[in-house]
Amino acid sequence: MLTCRAENFKIKTMNKPVLKAVELKKTYPGKPAIEALKGVSLEVGVGDVVALLGPNGAGKTTFVKIVTGLLLPDSGDAIVEGYSVTKQRRHALSRLVTVLEGDRNLRFRLTGMENAEFFVVLSGRKFDRKRCMELAERFGLSDAMNRQVRTYSKGMKQKLSVLIAFLTDTPLILLDEPTLGLDVEASNELIDAIKEGADAGHAILITTHEMHIAQKVSTHVAIIKEGKLVTYQRTDRLLELFRYREYLIKVKPNDIKLEFPMLRKVESNDNFATFVLDTSEPSDVYRVIDMLKSRNAEILEIVRRQPDLEEVYLRIVKGGGMPDA
């Protein structure tokens, strides 16, 4: 079990973490040089599904590439089950498998089964045909395993890539945008499969821009912005932190103007206006109610909002930062 402290993102683990990234720094040379990571540390434990979020260029891919041994950090290290990716490469990389974004995980002129054998052996593991067929059944690919991958749909290719990752059976699985471009049904199937993988004891790190997917699948959320880890929390805890801050207030008439700190109009239609009050103090709500009454406004609804991960993410990334714990 992990416990997270919002104030400094240091994670206490009871179990030895499967992945431990320590102060990873990376600057890409060039003119100008690009400082992609400015000292990122995080840990992923057994059964965790960590969603690594951040805007484009925030440093997510750099982080994943360092962990998978494709990129050398300037300083810091990534430790997989106690083995350093930079110094004990073979040991570290034999304990992880990566599913890269898009069509980059398969050889199109090979069949599904041939791909599975190829990539499992490439990861230094023994290929188990029977287990492969069991997983193919689970992923709904059993009829397609003897067909060349070039005949697969996008969803089938993605499912096969994830199937191979689970078949490889490494302690750490890295999934880069696993649901990108998939329809809802295929996405949900993958989400279920990822959850099952975590339940089976894999530590899973996902990068994604799809917040609803991250919310559904993750146990923890890490947000990177401009090369720095902005927050690393349990997903439910993060949502909880923001929950008590927002009140949605619907009022008539729709053209009413209110001046109050942390109050903003978010919508105005023919019938009413909607305001969001960004506060954790109930007394602020009462003050706004008093203000509305003094202007003879009709209060239609006051709701304490439960923001979804997308809203929380946008709030953190676009300013605002983290609320006090």
């Binding site: 998978t68 990129l71 050398l72 090979l110 190829f118 490439l122 990861s123």
Partner: protein, 261 residues
């Protein structure tokens, strides 16, 4: 590691068979190039006496095509895997980048060997090459020269990893190797000859001619100083290629360009 080599060999063979158009065209183009050069020299430069030295010419050509298969496969294997996207996936393997590339080149070459032998047979039949050679000596020669080709392949692979498109550079080197295959170094100035005499490619050519033209047998070849020198320089070339690839790979890992194309 043997399992890894096996899956690579299987993948190479499968992909080769599943791109039949490319395979047939490789056959045709290699035979046409040989025919073009051979018949061209015969028609326009009869004084060269090609007919009398047909076997040597043929062996030079085969050595050059062998170089083509090895070196091209090395750079192509990097470039195509990067464009198709799975290079990063391959390079996150615990086996390490250099070993993966070496296995890729060797298994690609083994898969190409079928073509290579078929092309050789076709050319012998089409152009009536009278080849009397000691098979054991020939295989021994190829094995001794192979580390050199592998070394060159690793240099190309290392370059491809960093600068990506090296097709024109490969073509340039191909022309130099073609020149050496047909001229054999003998027409070069003495100064140049003293420098290139230990170049494994030329040593292999000299020994190939010794096997075909002078009828040197394996029992003589394997105990000769020339063969020992070839083996040594070939292994040194491989070590240089390996070290060069390591440096280039590290540079690509620092710059973060492994998956680029």
């Amino acid at each position: 590691m043997l399992r890894l080599a096996w899956v690579y060999l299987k993948a190479s063979l499968m992909e080769m068979l599943r791109y039949p158009f490319e395979m047939v065209n490789t056959y045709i183009s290699l035979i046409l190039i040989f025919g073009g050069i051979f018949l061209g020299i015969k028609a326009f430069a009869p004084s060269v006496g090609l007919e009398a030295n047909k076997a040597g010419f043929f062996l030079g050509y085969m050595l050059w095509t062998f170089y083509l298969f090895t070196a091209n496969s090395a750079s192509w294997t990097i470039y195509s895997a990067a464009t198709m996207g799975y290079l990063e996936r391959e390079f996150s393997s615990p086996f390490g980048h250099t070993l993966i590339v070496v296995i890729k080149i060797i298994t690609d070459n083994l898969a190409s060997l079928i073509h290579y032998i078929l092309i050789a047979i076709l050319m012998i039949l089409i152009f009536g090459v009278d080849l009397k050679l000691d098979l054991i000596a020939t295989i021994g020669l190829i094995l001794a020269a192979y580390p050199f080709f592998l070394g060159v392949g690793l240099i190309f692979a290392g370059l491809a990893l960093n600068v990506k498109r090296i097709g024109s550079f490969i073509s340039l080197v191909q022309i130099i190797f073609m020149f050496l295959a047909f001229v054999g170094g003998g027409k070069l100035s003495p100064g140049v000859v003293s420098v290139v005499r230990y170049f494994p490619y030329l040593q292999a050519l000299r020994l190939a001619k010794a096997i075909t033209i002078r009828g040197v047998r394996w029992s003589e070849l394997f105990v000769s100083n020339e063969f020992a020198t070839l083996l040594a320089t070939s292994l040194i070339s491989f070590a240089i290629g390996w070290a060069f690839f390591k440096v280039m790979d590290r540079q690509a890992m620092r710059k973060g360009v492994i998956g680029h194309y």
